[in-house]
């Protein structure tokens, strides 16, 4: 039989297409894929870079230890510049060319936008940089979870600490006028009432605000015992604190996770002294208790790594733990099975990344600890024990 040039070309194309078609299938059998929409540029890049390092490092550790049930873990990612449309495009690209089991999302906006598609696919579970209270709902977001407490839980940790330290204290809330900033306001008011604390002032600042003089004047009149910031990274907190100190206010300033990175406050200097806040993870330098995983991180990275790194690292650890439990039970790695495997995590030791054993019954890990910045030593120092604010089921 003679094969014409045209037939040979058609056969070649067919063979190529077949090879391309079966590649994802082969990959799925031999590896576990974590994909990520990572904000390596844009307004959230300071965190995205750390998150990316954390995810990469944990995957490296797992692979060096032989992988998960004999399968290697592969981490693929692309930059999203913290834009929802770009993040959706990255999701489509990465899930279209890889058999993805776990996905890291870069924002609340993306997590909410992609949720129906995630549920439709039913092949992967997702966690990410958002701690939005809305995502902590296993019915509405069955295939997502938060690798820490949600924002309302973070404030609950702070209020629990305040109620214990100074019963009946007066509190001012300062929130940025963003979805991130407004997130826990309603629950904070309810929780404060329950704990016998008074909300003396509520201040909202536009996201573009530079000067906070007028807000400081409001704070001066309210004269609260504690001021809780939420919805900011660094600015305008230092200016708030400096001006309040200038005016002789005795209020103690507190923040939530994204404003708790040690290196940010180290650059602020003396004005940062006494700043407190809630942390879901131990700091890189924290040697209060035995923490073998932190020791490994220090070995891999001799210089300080950010709290965002810890978040990425722990997320990868929980992804891999869910995958391991699913494979150990000889189950197919579907979203339902992976989420069930994740929710089977009970009194789990994170190797010291979190200072208490964790249990994930729903979509979050409602545990945190209050830390306070010591400007003389340039470190955050743990205050009291880890606080669990899980709601009774």
């Amino acid at each position: 039989m003679t094969i014409t040039r045209r037939q040979a070309l058609a056969a070649g194309i067919a063979a190529g297409g077949l090879a391309a078609g079966i590649r994802p299938g082969l990959a799925q059998a031999n590896e576990i894929v974590i994909a990520g929409s990572i904000p390596l540029t844009g307004v959230f890049a300071f965190a995205g870079i750390g998150i990316n390092d954390g995810l990469s490092d944990y995957v490296k550790l797992v692979n060096e230890a032989g992988g998960i049930a004999g399968r290697k873990v592969r981490y693929v990612y692309e930059d999203t510049a913290y834009k929802v449309d770009q993040s959706v495009a990255v999701f489509n690209k990465l899930t279209g060319s890889n058999a993805v089991n776990f996905y890291y999302s870069d924002s609340t906006g993306f997590a909410k936008t992609i949720n129906p598609e995630l549920n439709r696919k039913g092949s992967m579970i997702m966690a990410g940089a958002s701690f939005a209270t809305e995502l902590n709902d296993a019915k509405a977001y069955p295939n997502q979870f938060i690798a820490g407490p949600d924002y309302s839980d973070m404030i609950s940790v702070l209020l629990t600490y305040i109620a214990k330290t100074q019963p009946g204290a007066k509190i001012a809330l300062v929130n940025s006028d963003t979805e991130f900033g407004r997130d826990p306001i309603a629950t904070t008011e309810a929780m404060a009432k329950k704990l016998g604390l008074t909300i003396a002032e509520k201040i909202v600042t536009p996201p573009t605000s530079v000067d906070v003089s007028t807000e400081v004047l409001k704070l001066r009149r309210a004269n609260p015992d504690y001021t809780i910031f939420h919805g900011y990274v660094l600015a305008p907190l230092p200016e708030f604190m400096t001006q309040a100190k200038q005016l002789g206010l005795k209020t103690k300033f507190m923040g939530t996770f994204w404003s708790m990175d040690n290196s940010l406050w180290a650059k602020v200097g003396e004005a940062a002294n006494g700043f407190m806040g809630v942390m879901p993870y131990r700091y890189y330098f924290d040697e209060d208790a035995k923490a073998p995983m932190l020791a490994k991180i220090r070995q891999m990275r001799p210089e300080y790594v950010s709290t965002a790194y810890m978040q990425g690292f722990l997320t990868a650890m929980l992804f891999c733990e869910a995958g391991k439990r699913c494979l150990d039970a000889k189950q197919e790695m579907t979203a339902t099975n992976l989420k069930a495997a994740l929710n089977s995590i009970k009194d789990f030791d994170t190797g010291g990344l979190i200072g208490a054993p964790i249990t994930i019954t729903g979509n979050s890990i409602p545990v945190g600890r209050v830390y306070q910045y010591d400007a003389a030593r340039k470190v955050m120092v743990g205050q009291g024990d880890w606080i669990n604010v899980s709601k009774p089921s």
């Binding site: 844009g42 003089s213 007028t214 409001k218 001006q243 200038q246």
Partner: protein
Amino acid sequence: MEFDWLFFFEVTLAGLGSGALLALTALAFVLIYKATKVVNLAIGEMLMVGAYLFFSFAAGFGLPVWLAIPLALIGGGLLGAIVERTIIRPMLGESAISVFMVTIGLGSVLVGLVEIVWGAAPTQLPDFMGTTPLFIGAAYVSRKIAIGFAVASIVIAAFVLAFRFWRGGVALRATATDQGAAYSCGIDVPKVFSAAWIVAGVAAAGAGILVGAVGGISPTMGVFGLSALVVVIVGGLDSIAGALVGGLIVGLVEAWSGTFIGGEYKLLATFGLLLIILMVRPYGLFGTVEIERL
């Protein structure tokens, strides 16, 4: 309940202070538009570069503030010169919208460069203004804001005088009024263009240092330039006095609305003001009225 006049006075002072910072940034917009008819949307990013240059000189190289500030201003001027010669001048003759789009692209490039050179994390400028509080009678004024107000007032007054009495200022006004006529009078129009961009770069760097000293620095601080755009539209795109008056008005509107209605209404009030001005005086309070007949 009795109205707290002291509180109102304090809020008003704070509004005037932050308005002066807006006015200084708006000045950089106006200088470029006045001379070259280019609406430079990258002013916020040029401001950011100035703040980062100061950060490098003061914190990185440990230079004294009296040296770090002029070096950062020179750096801002150089940036203005480079942008004008390499990006804007080749665009001469192109439509205004094309040049406008180029400045948007320039803004993104500057953000990228800052992220590469200085990293993406927000940080603080070294404190060079002191922390002792200022009081006018019993009314508190933030020290940094008071200094910002004083600097902005002096700089803007100097520009108003320069445009009125200095030969270069007169040449710039002539170029702005009619390029052809300016050429025929022996004015070197390209040089005027360069000078406008250089001076605007210096003004933006100065504003960046002041804004950074108050609110910290980050690659996203250029968004402050958008507020200044509102100021120039309110004051008039080609009016230096308009930049000052517009800045103070926007500062006051933001301070009063943020305090007495709520911080979430601050931007609503600002852009509400912008809409009213655009409907009543589309060329701004002090801008040149251009009549176009079809």
